[in-house]
Symmetry: C2
Subunit: 216 residues, 2 copies
């Protein structure tokens, strides 16, 4: 029976990797919809989030079923419970991409992002997309060095986020309070997206090494 169990574990892992690709695509499209005020793309991200939620829901049911049937102990149990937490992180990353797309939709046909912030926002989108994709490789390869790299990416995200806020509070900000609210929330969404990516990477690190990754 062991090999069927192993196949089940591998399938769980594969679904997690699939989810990382989906949320990576979603944050990429959400960013483009935001910068280009592309309503079609925004709608696509918004409706695709339901699919991500469904996949996560099915995955969780599958994990619980495996735990109940196979009664795993020690390492295998820990891996399954960690998978349950990673799926929650990934589902939340999907939500955050959805939130970004909703800001794009709300401001359409205008862009929610004033010209002077577009480069910074685009970079945040790029870092976020990349982190999600890297986390997929971390889950697949269990590469702990790569897991630590995700934390370095998060430093880059934090820096971009600080840049964003400093432009916002600068005296040159002429786009008004409503726009400042949009940008504040968008900054928060990207930052949280990155936090969840770090969380997944740290969970893999712990699973592989039995130790917590050093705090930045």
């Amino acid at each position: 029976m062991r090999s069927i169990f192993q196949e089940e574990l591998d399938a769980v892992s594969q679904t997690l990797v699939d989810l990382t690709k989906m949320v990576s695509d979603s944050i990429n499209k959400a960013t483009t919809s935001l910068i280009d005020a592309n309503i079609t793309l925004a709608e696509e991200v918004i409706s695709f989030d339901e699919k991500i939620d469904q996949i996560q829901h099915d995955l969780d049911a599958r994990i619980i079923d495996i735990v109940a049937r196979q009664q795993p102990v020690a390492t295998d149990l820990r891996a399954l419970l960690t998978a349950l937490r990673m799926s929650a992180d990934l589902e939340r990353m999907g939500d955050l991409a959805h939130h970004v797309a909703k800001v794009a939709r709300l401001r359409h046909p205008d862009s929610a992002v004033p010209l002077e912030l577009q480069t910074t926002l685009q970079r945040m989108g790029h870092v976020a997309e990349n982190m999600a994709r890297k986390v997929g490789t971390v889950i697949e390869s269990r590469d702990t060095a790569l897991a630590l790299e995700v934390e370095t990416d998060d430093d880059e995200m934090d820096k971009l986020h600080r840049d964003l806020i400093s432009i916002l509070v600068s005296s040159e900000w002429k786009a008004g309070v409503a726009s400042a609210i949009d940008i504040t929330l968008l900054g928060r969404y990207y930052e949280r997206f990155a936090d969840h990516a770090v969380s997944v990477a740290r969970r893999v690190y712990y699973l592989v090494t039995g130790e917590f990754a050093p705090q930045k």
Copy 2:
């Protein structure tokens, strides 16, 4: 052995209830620290968050240990895995109270909240504190009617949040962009705090009835 297992389940439930009280106190104190620019109280909330994290961490380890030793199936397994998710929600509520207190600390000796928003923010704090406390009773009593009431409280929170934003974008807003950023983030923290309270209440509802609570 069954009775020891039952005692272990009860102890898990009791720790969850304890956590609801802690995060309820934290959001209450964080709100007061914010309105009164009370730095001592803000520091208290910030350092207490570490304690909440530790309790959650120990609780999770305890739950995983019970699953590994007792190999529960069906209802008991589901209850334990749900407890794991509720502890994550409660830990996050502690983080959000911490975030509120950090805004208070950042703006000290000023209040981060302009006079015209203090009543709304205070109400949001009151609703949040109350929701966390109610969720504790829901965990203890498994009262599904009360679980649904938490969703009604969340409607109240959403309304207060909309009020907050509408004052912010009104032409009377004179407090500047930096203050608008603070208020936007604060609004988001309270809203998310309430979302997690709803999440816990819905998990209890599902556990008791086997069905999802109707969406609002």
